[in-house]
């Protein structure tokens, strides 16, 4: 029975589960969609998102009630609404206000705002994890707040934040598939387009899934290397 399944469906005898011809003709466009859209979308959104996260975290940590209030509302609004809805608001909703953006920039804006809110909590916790004495040591050698933050606190906070931020990054890679819904021709949308023509849904979507998996696997290897590098100054 198992043998029959193997020969008939997997290796492709009667009604092959893997259509190799389709595989080779579909993987090219999907990888292309990944390289042209999924990866740039991830990188831009994560970069802007991190900047936003740092500013939001600093606003939350500042004694300023107005700034920290704004930051709180922003984080709450983004965390309390679905990412897909946020994408739709930017792409389909903003034109009602006369702001019409292309799919790609719309996606970058929505994903950056999303990453910014979630990562701000990671950044805030990481900054708080650095002992208060480190701030004081910076101040006593005459450093200003920005100098102490940049040279003393953030390098230490970075080490703490790498594992959770890697999670955010890997989530983002996968979340970019939602951009297919606002016409960004990224990896998943390519697979949808081909599936709509060929009706080979299972094969195409599994191929897409495996491509995402490969990217995320490589990223987790990168994470390991960064963690090892940053651990050099920590007692083991």
């Amino acid at each position: 029975m198992a043998k029959m399944f193997l020969s008939n469906f997997i290796l492709g005898a009667a009604d092959p589960l893997i259509d190799w011809e389709l595989f080779w003709s579909s993987i090219g466009p999907m990888v292309e969609g990944g390289i042209r859209n999924t990866i740039p979308l991830t990188l831009f959104s994560f970069t802007f998102g991190l900047i936003l996260a740092l500013l939001t975290a600093l606003a939350r940590l500042s004694g300023n009630k107005v700034l920290s209030g704004i930051a709180r509302v922003y984080v709450s609004a983004i965390r309390g609404t679905p990412l897909l809805v946020q994408l739709f608001i930017v792409f389909f909703g903003l034109p009602d206000l006369g702001i019409t953006l292309d799919p790609f920039p719309s996606a970058v804006i929505a994903f950056s705002l999303n990453v910014g809110a979630y990562a701000s909590e990671i950044v805030r916790a990481s900054i708080l994890s650095v002992p208060k004495g480190q701030w004081e040591a910076g101040y006593t050698i005459g450093m200003t707040y920005p100098q102490t933050l940049r040279r003393i606190i953030l390098p230490q906070a970075t080490r703490v934040s790498i594992p959770p931020l890697s999670n955010s990054f890997i989530s983002l890679v996968k979340d970019t598939s939602l951009a297919s819904q606002i016409l960004v021709v990224e990896l998943f949308r390519k697979s949808q387009e081909i599936a709509a023509r060929t009706y080979d849904f299972l094969q195409l979507y599994i191929t897409a899934a495996i491509l995402y998996w490969i990217v995320c696997f490589v990223l987790s290897l990168v994470q390991d290397r960064i963690e090892k590098k940053l651990d050099r100054y920590v007692a083991k």
Binding site: A137, Y139, G142, T144, Q147
Partner: protein
């Protein structure tokens, strides 16, 4: 006077920790501050560096710089005050992501924007002075407590402060490591470094200090030359404290 402080007050909410403390430190003098825990002595030292912001108090330095805390000081005044003094912490607070040498170079390079090569040469000689010339490329976690504290002293000295502040610098150390830190401090005193030291080491205070202040309940209870305060105190509270420190059981 290297520094003169008048009528320093500090409260945390309802709690008045410091209630009018005066301090005068002549150039090259060592002032030791002793007192029971909770007396406010550490808070007082931290106020000298504006790590705690005094609610009131007038600071005057020998070069004419003065700071009146009855109104909240400006940022650049606080920076100026901090650059006049170097702080050594009980828990060292070295930068763990920087080597001993980088710890010492950080202030002069980043704050004073001095030439990196010249700073390096001076940082190396400072580390040699505290006996750590061999260890300068190690990270803090690779050093013993006593070695870390000596790096802490070198880091504070690197900005060439007029005044060195020590906050119980040996309290976190294993007993056998206390001596190496105290001997560095004695050497500094001999060289004429102006110092204010909060300490439990009465022997050190007796040997090195020019002046001893006993603080309790946020006020100076008694002060004077170490021999008077430590050997023949007048106030009952001072006697009681010394008795408890000298005869712990």
């Amino acid at each position: 006077m290297q520094i003169q402080v008048q009528n320093l007050h500090k409260s945390f909410g309802e709690l008045n920790v410091l209630r009018g403390i005066d301090l005068e430190v002549p150039k090259g003098n060592v002032v030791a501050i002793i007192g029971p825990s909770g007396s406010g002595k550490t808070t007082f030292l931290r106020c000298l560096n504006a790590l705690e912001m005094p609610n009131q108090g007038l600071f005057e330095f020998s070069d004419g710089f003065s700071l009146d805390f009855s109104k909240y000081p400006k940022k650049n005044e606080i920076l100026k005050l901090r650059r006049k003094s170097g702080m050594v912490f009980q828990s060292y607070n070295l930068f763990p992501h920087k080597t001993a040498l980088e710890n010492v170079m950080e202030g002069p390079v980043i704050v004073q924007k001095l030439n990196k090569e010249e700073v390096r040469a001076r940082a190396v000689s400072l580390l040699e002075k505290v006996g750590l010339g061999e260890k300068m490329d190690l990270y803090p976690h690779q050093l013993s407590g006593g070695q870390q504290q000596r790096v802490g002293i070198a880091r504070a000295l690197a900005i060439e402060p007029e005044l060195m502040l020590f906050d119980e610098p040996t309290s976190a150390l294993d007993p056998e490591l206390v001596g190496e830190v105290l001997s560095v401090m004695k050497e500094l005193a001999r060289e004429g470094q102006t110092m204010v030291v909060v300490t439990h080491e009465l022997k050190f205070a007796e040997d090195v200090a020019d002046h001893v202040m006993f603080i309790d309940g946020g006020v100076v209870v008694e002060q004077g030359p170490p021999k008077e305060i430590l050997k023949a105190p007048k106030e009952a509270r001072t006697k009681q404290f010394l008795d408890r420190v000298l005869n712990p059981s």
